[in-house]
Symmetry: C2
Subunit: 386 residues, 2 copies
């Protein structure tokens, strides 16, 4: 069996999770041949776990330049995602980029252009797309069998993080280091799923609160109101400050309602389209007959390892990816729009003004405080699983 030679750039929290999956053979046909990390301690950790056969680099660009890898997995701080992806793609190396695609869409659009010009495979680590519940939701919504979307409410407030978490890395939760808070770090999955399942809204009005619950300079609390091209509306509510939080994703359609909560997906299926019933009923208060159906799924939820297996399959056998790299820009556009709306204190339409966003972001980067605490490695394996 042929294996693809892969290098991991950034062996921090999530990079280490990937490395272990690869080494255990859980992630498909990979041979770990290189790793890059600026931290001597992390390089030493790789040496201990992966042995002498793995080439170690301090800097990602050197790993790419060495040419020892056919594919790279990019798991460094967000700002570097586009530049490293572009470098690798131009070298013809396949790229798996961790989420988010970047910090601002202008850079990500350049990355996508590089991907279009390259023959290499470009993939995004949207591991939540492997979750059977979200796959099924997408299938039900996108198939059209339930008609058009009328309302989307996602309360996703179970991203609790302590102050200790924010103090664990100097880049964390700073405009200069991370470029945002809960929208950039925790929510890329949710924002991607939101657009993957429901499509892109046409405008956003968001209320981002910076350092509301934690001693950080970026947002840790967001409420966003969304309007879709067909007139549907929605809210997206998130925070890292609530415990216990809620993860309740509700999509109301003309033919019924989907509610995903507590690891279950339930379909409330109307016997008649509500838009028709509303006009035809000969009384004031009745509603169409509605059947409550616990939705069956295939039960599969292979997460990061599944995304990596599909990536290997795409390279070796032309199989479909879980998420094409160029799709990463959509969730980031949602995130950028929420920030921009909040900063400008007004509704913003899609596509957003990318230059204005970058200008506003750069102002915040310029006055960003640099944290002095030393970086702490956390064993987060198992905390990304659902």
């Amino acid at each position: 069996m042929r294996k693809v030679r892969i290098g991991i750039i950034g062996v921090g929290n999530i990079g280490t999770v990937h490395m272990k999956h690869i080494m255990r053979g859980e992630a498909g046909e990979w041979e770990l041949v290189a790793a890059a990390d600026r931290s001597p301690g992390q390089r030493e950790m790789v040496r201990e776990l992966a042995g002498e056969g793995v080439r170690l680099f301090e800097a990602g660009p050197d790993l790419i330049d060495s040419g020892v890898c056919e594919a790279v997995l990019i798991a460094v701080p967000h700002y570097q995602h586009p530049e490293l992806s572009i470098q690798a793609l131009r070298k013809g190396q396949h790229v798996m980029c961790e989420k988010p695609a970047g910090v601002y869409t202008k850079a990500v659009a350049e990355m996508n252009a590089a991907a279009e010009e390259s023959d290499a495979i470009f993939a995004m680590m949207f591991n939540q797309r492997t979750n059977c519940l979200y796959r099924k939701m997408r299938e039900l919504v996108q198939s059209g069998e339930l008609g058009e979307i009328r309302r989307v409410n996602w309360i996703i407030t179970d991203w609790f993080r302590t102050q200790f978490y924010y103090d664990s890395g100097a880049w964390r939760a700073t405009w200069a280091g991370e470029g945002g808070g809960v929208l950039l770090n925790q929510c890329p999955h949710n924002l991607d799923l939101l657009q993957w399942i429901c499509g892109m809204p046409s405008r956003v009005r968001a209320f981002c609160h910076q350092g509301k619950w934690h001693d950080i300079e970026v947002e840790d609390d967001v409420t966003a109101y969304l309007e879709y091209p067909n007139g549907a509306t929605g809210v997206f509510i998130t925070t890292t400050g609530d415990a216990p939080g809620t993860n309740r994703f509700e999509v109301t359609l003309d033919g019924g309602k989907l509610v995903c909560e507590d690891g279950k997906l339930v379909l409330h299926k109307n016997a008649q389209r509500i838009s028709e019933y509303l006009l035809e009923a000969k009384d004031g208060y009745s509603t169409p007959e509605c059947e409550v159906i616990p939705v069956e799924t295939d039960g599969e939820n292979p997460q990061h390892a599944g995304v990596m297996r599909a990536f290997a399959g795409a390279i070796l056998r032309g199989e479909p990816l879980v998420a094409r790299g160029v799709e990463g820009i959509r969730g980031l556009a949602l995130s950028n729009a929420m920030h921009l709306s909040s900063w400008l204190d007004r509704t913003v339409d899609f596509p957003i003004d990318e230059d204005l966003f970058l200008e506003e972001l750069d102002r915040r980067r310029a006055s960003s405080r640099i944290k002095t605490g030393k970086s702490v490695y956390s064993d987060t394996e198992g905390s990304y699983g659902s």
Copy 2:
């Protein structure tokens, strides 16, 4: 047993429900002595049900002027609530006013002033305050045992109405006749409960959509974002266009989370205040121990009849009301603020500019279309019960 002589002004849908409760003796110590309605058919209905002993009037002011009643129950279109209440209070007649208190707070403030100057009892028909679930929520939130509120999310989209409903009365769903849509007709209970349980927000940004699902000129779809004086945020989402709708009221506090849904109230109680845990924890991802407690209530939910029994008790024995009349202005202020925010396309602070609101409302009343369909009486008994 002494009974209080009461008259009902407006014997339409809800007025008829009240009349039946009174006649069956379910509503406390009342003697129905008069009724007023502009419709000959409705007066005839009262005559048939209540007999010759009840004095009938075409106009509410004449019923009040007659002096045959010690108390009046006002169940006419919203605009007339303040003027009729003021007239009765100034005559020394006790007043039970249907919700909403009025259409605009400026008129309601005058009504409240009249109530302050009167020795008569002034009560508001906030029958949902009798619901054991909401009473228990209020008790848990207001006692302070769970600490400060952090987030309030009420998705209350189960107010579905058909076009037939809106066509059933010429005054319905017009700026001139009703002064608003779902916020004025269906949601006064929810807006009252929201402030009764969680207190008043300090500012509101709302998105009201007019005639979105129905052929009406007022709003049938609202998403509102709320900010509270302590920094807590919230959303209030409602419509008459969704079926099946949702009624999920979630309050996150420092000590845990309350979720009221499907006729159940559940408390997720933290072992430690989250604001303390967040700062003290020595890891990044953990949360405090949390116990999930199905909250027991007294199971009582006496609704309209219960509100009327308390009203009789207040008059006869000085017992507490379910809702003092002067409190009606709070929910209406929320409603007015949501309209105004949406009309002005910006955030509005409390107290809102009452003159500006009235000016904006009057502009809409001036161009309001008068519906020509004839009024249809609906037997709605049983549709107000929860």
